[in-house]
């Protein structure tokens, strides 16, 4: 009986393992991915990086340029997350089962957020490129749309978790919708909501690099520029500046989260 059970379990795990291996082989052949090349290229990449991918004195001359673009990217990331948060809050309040006005609007709001969230930021950037060209607005709107989709869902879940009972209590006092939202729902969830916005800003800085490469703007653009000119020393300085700013913002966010609670 017991050995039978163990046997079944082994067969089951074996089966799953087999499926995963087959999946990996299928995927590798689809994409012409070779594990051997993968293993050989990692040491090559390390050797290359140690030899080429570090800033030299020359590259520091480009620092003002890089920092200007970095500042632009940071501001785009912050502005898009902040403005998106306002829209997301409205949609989340309409979509949350705790605060919804009616089922139709709630479903509509969820559907819109769903569509915005599930289309990758790179696609938004490529579409917006048509109208806004290489201006900062392309990046701003691409990040705005992606942030909106993500934050709406995050806000909705936060409100769902935090509010139901207290909202019921305030409804029982005869309070109207706006009183309930501003006196109970927002005070209860505000620190969580801000925490999500801070997270979104971090995410946006990374995404801004990608969007910049695609659309020729911001920090992604300068990286691409040096990269294509094979000026890897300057490119490494760009990477360094991105890494430092993300780590810094992470530290600030963590501090703010601690104090807010």
């Amino acid at each position: 009986m017991r050995s039978n059970f163990l046997m079944k379990k082994r067969l089951y795990s074996g089966g799953i393992l087999l499926v995963l291996v087959l999946l990996a082989f299928g995927a590798a052949s689809m994409t012409e991915f070779s594990l051997a090349k993968c293993f050989s290229s990692i040491p090559k990449a390390i050797v290359w990086s140690l030899g080429n991918f570090y800033p030299v004195a020359d590259s520091f001359a480009k620092l003002p340029d890089i920092l200007a673009k970095l500042q632009e990217t940071l501001l785009i990331s912050i502005a898009s997350a902040s403005v998106a948060a306002i829209f997301a809050l409205v949609f989340a309040l309409i979509g949350s089962r705790v605060t919804k006005i009616n089922n139709f609007l709630a479903t509509l709001s969820r559907l819109i957020a769903n569509i915005f969230r599930n289309i990758d930021v790179s696609i938004w950037a490529l579409v917006l490129l048509f109208s806004f060209g290489q201006s900062s607005l392309t990046g701003y709107f691409a990040l705005f749309v992606a942030s909106f989709g993500f934050l709406t869902r995050a806000f909705m879940e936060t409100i769902d978790e935090v509010g139901a009972d207290t909202v019921e209590a305030l409804r029982a006092t005869g309070a109207n919708f706006f009183s309930i939202v501003f006196q109970a729902v927002i005070p209860m969830s505000v620190s969580q909501l801000i925490s999500w916005v801070l997270f979104m800003i971090e995410t946006n800085i990374r995404a801004a690099t990608l969007v910049g490469i695609l659309t020729g703007s911001g920090i992604g653009f300068v990286f691409d520029l040096y990269y294509k000119k094979m000026d890897y020393h300057s490119a490494s300085l760009v990477v360094l500046s991105i890494v430092l700013s993300i780590l810094l913002i992470e530290q600030i966010s963590n501090y703010v989260r601690r104090v807010m609670l």
Binding site: G26, M30, K37, S41, V127, Q134, S136, I194, V259
Partner: protein, 286 residues
């Protein structure tokens, strides 16, 4: 619980409230409230500074928005193939999915080991903290840069893409796995240690079985993310797949109709994956 009627405090006692003079204040500003307000204020100011300093390059905001709306209309209401067929598009979609699969699997295998080392109950504090710091730094480099950096020596293509994309998967899953491991009851581990079980025995007999469902759930969530990442890497870093077609349609053919088709295909797959990962998550929680 014996309760008998006793006279409670009188409700309408005429006691003089200590708050008689002037307006009674309702709120006291706590440190937390100050932090919240300050954060919102700073974000608002930086947003305004951003809008004031953006590089607009003469683009008119309203005109741009109107034309974007028109473009959305084309994309969502007039999707049409031009350069390839549905079958080819689906093939490209599978390439994108395959990149996601490979990245997720590689990430999961490596993260499994790093996750054990990063879990405080399976490792020691120094090792755990250094691993956690290490993966935080890895995460600070955007995925597209990892891919491009590897592309210099490996050439643009699936190898550079998978390696580059794996970094964030490793980082994400290491954090998720280690937190799952840390949820395991410390008592269970100590009991097994008391029986003289070795570290590997504890891991294989107690830790992995009890956290398996949560590991699977996290891995699938990462797969869902990786699908989006591979679309992006196809567009921006030569990883191929449907993202590359999207990029060509946008940057070279200026074909919004075909972008519409691709957008729908990606949307369908993404929603399907999200649906599945929610199903898995609920199953794990139950």
């Amino acid at each position: 619980m014996a309760m008998t009627k006793t006279a409670g405090p009188v409700l309408t006692n005429g006691g003089v409230p200590p708050f008689q003079e002037g307006r009674i204040k309702i709120r006291v500003l706590s440190k937390a409230n100050i932090a919240i307000r300050l954060t919102m204020l700073i974000l608002a100011v930086l947003t305004i500074v951003g809008f004031a300093t953006f590089n607009y390059q003469g683009v008119h905001l309203l005109k741009g928005l109107m034309s974007t709306l028109a473009n959305f209309k084309t994309i969502f209401f007039q999707p049409q193939f031009a350069h390839f067929t549905l079958l080819e598009a689906i093939y490209q979609l599978f390439i994108t999915l395959s990149l996601g699969v490979l990245t997720t699997l590689i990430g999961a295998i490596i993260a499994l080991f790093l996750g054990m080392l990063a879990a405080e109950n399976l490792s020691n504090k120094t090792v755990s903290n250094s691993i956690k710091g290490f993966v935080a730094v890895i995460r600070a480099v955007p995925t597209v840069l990892w891919v491009l950096i590897f592309a210099v020596s490996a050439g643009l293509g699936s190898v550079a893409a998978v390696i580059g994309m794996s970094f964030h998967s490793i980082s994400y899953l290491t954090k998720a796995y280690s937190e799952s491991f840390e949820e395991l009851n410390q008592g269970t581990i100590e009991a097994l240690e008391g029986c003289g079980a070795s570290w590997w025995q504890i891991v294989c007999q107690a830790v992995l079985p009890s956290s398996l469902t949560s590991l699977i759930s996290w891995t699938f969530i990462r797969f869902e993310i990786n699908f989006g990442v591979s679309v992006a890497m196809g567009a921006a870093a030569g990883a191929g797949g449907i993202g590359y077609d999207m990029f060509m349609d946008s940057a070279f053919y200026y074909n919004l109709h075909e972008m519409g088709v691709i957008t729908y295909l990606i949307l369908i797959v993404a929603m399907l994956l999200e649906f599945m990962s929610i199903k898995i998550k609920n199953k794990v929680r139950a």
